[in-house]
Symmetry: C2
Subunit: 279 residues, 2 copies
């Protein structure tokens, strides 16, 4: 089938590679307001053709919306205005506001809300990689609001990668992603700023930083263009988890001030429970 990808960055570009490689897509049309991204997408051979959005929609069987989430909220109603029998899916990190926006659209059933749980700290077409999504989980939100034909097409796409599918309502999705994704990014941004603020001697960071440090700050390389809109859309959930995170750090602070090393030991043991959950 012919697939249009609107927003050829890390996620859109990686899907382009995967879906072309496994034969799910016969042709990939790229849409991007940034001509430089289109140029890079051709050079990386991510797309077969580029078009303006209004020309790409009628030429496609499936449209994948993979822009930053604030742009999705603007584009999705316009895309749905134009579709006839095309299926539309997004791959965004927040869902409540997006789904509220098109809840009563006459073509709502042509659209499936999805979130493949994968990514890296890099962005743009040059960051696209094969196998980014393999064997990870994708969320489908509010599937009852989509037609079964649209759902089947989108499920077949994810099965072709392959990814497993988890159904969640939009509200639960936004709460869970605040926990397992969004707070990690704020933690990394803050850690990078902490070290950059305290450690004036950058050569020392470079020489001394081992795998542990790199691992906890790598998300601090993430793009503000992608992440600020996510925090804006999911502000209340993120604030809730951020408050809890600051409280947890304050517990460690208070324990250090009181030199209560027995309690410190207990807290580390408690946090070790994450072993059961994360491989």
């Amino acid at each position: 089938m012919t697939i249009t990808i609107i927003g050829i960055g890390l996620i859109g570009g990686s899907l382009a590679i995967t879906l072309k490689e496994n034969g799910f897509a016969k042709k990939i049309i790229g849409v991007d307001i940034n001509p430089e991204n289109i140029d890079k997408a051709y050079r990386r051979r991510l797309i077969d053709e580029d078009m303006k959005m209004e020309d790409a929609i009628p030429a496609s069987d499936l449209i994948i919306l993979s822009t930053p989430v604030d742009v999705m909220i603007k584009l999705l109603p316009q895309i749905l205005d134009q579709v006839t029998d095309q299926v539309v899916m997004d791959v965004g990190s927040t869902k409540m506001n997006l789904l509220a926006k098109i809840k009563d659209h006459r073509n709502r059933k042509n659209y499936v809300a999805t979130h493949p749980m994968a990514g890296t700290e890099y962005s743009g077409p040059e960051a696209a990689v094969p196998n980014l999504f393999d064997h990870n989980c994708t969320v489908i939100c509010n599937p009852e609001e989509s037609s079964s034909a649209a759902l089947e097409k989108v499920k077949a796409l994810y099965a072709s990668i392959p990814m497993s599918i988890l159904n969640l309502d939009a509200k639960s999705h936004d709460v869970h992603t605040a926990y397992v994704s969004h707070i990690s990014h704020i933690s990394s941004f803050a850690l990078a700023l902490t070290v950059l603020a305290k450690e004036k001697d950058e050569n020392r960071i470079f020489e001394l930083a081992s795998g542990g440090f790199s691992s906890t700050v790598r998300l601090a390389k993430s793009s503000p263009e992608m992440w600020v809109p996510i925090f804006k859309q999911n502000r209340d959930n993120v604030l809730d988890v951020l408050d809890e995170h600051i409280n947890q750090l304050a517990r460690f602070r208070s324990i250090l001030i009181k030199k209560d090393y027995q309690k410190f030991h207990e807290l580390i043991q408690e946090s070790n429970e994450i072993k059961r959950i994360i491989k």
Copy 2:
């Protein structure tokens, strides 16, 4: 040469593999108060022989102290009491208190304070891996307090791996490691506790957690037996960096409360500077 390793865990065991593999050590003697560790060390073929510490010291050319840092502070004076021409080195993560403890020991010059900047979140002999240290940096603290013969032997050991060497005074070492290692661990412990506290549905964490989350919480698997003594030894520096980290998180919180997304964008851009430093 014959090398005694006191404390056969992740670091001691990994050194045992490397130094035997590259021929720097002809024989490795293992010392560990935990008989289970000795048993595991034999099964993993990390050691050629095990002895009590007082028998191992005279039988060795070089003694590597790789216990948790609180145990080092107890053992190092005892080891130095007993050495004749043996060289002693430690591989601990904190240095100020340890070096103060043996500053005036009559055999101080036989000892070299080192800290190879490498590790994983796992511990014990079963966590020992080949190539853990390759091409990383090792710190040598206060080299002027060691004899040149002892220094040469220890430098030859690290060159054999190979690791590069950075000389720092003990105080600077403890300040820098608080920035580039210790705070990352507290951040991970707190993040794990945050998610465990807020996310009651563990299956959801398991299904949804992608690489980003795993990367920021992996250090939360680290052992309290190793880490509490480090935080105890380096308490003042860690508190200082932890305060700064909480302040940075509070900035993100305040920005979210005020919905100042322009400022959020600027902070992320600022934190992106870490790209220049971390590969």
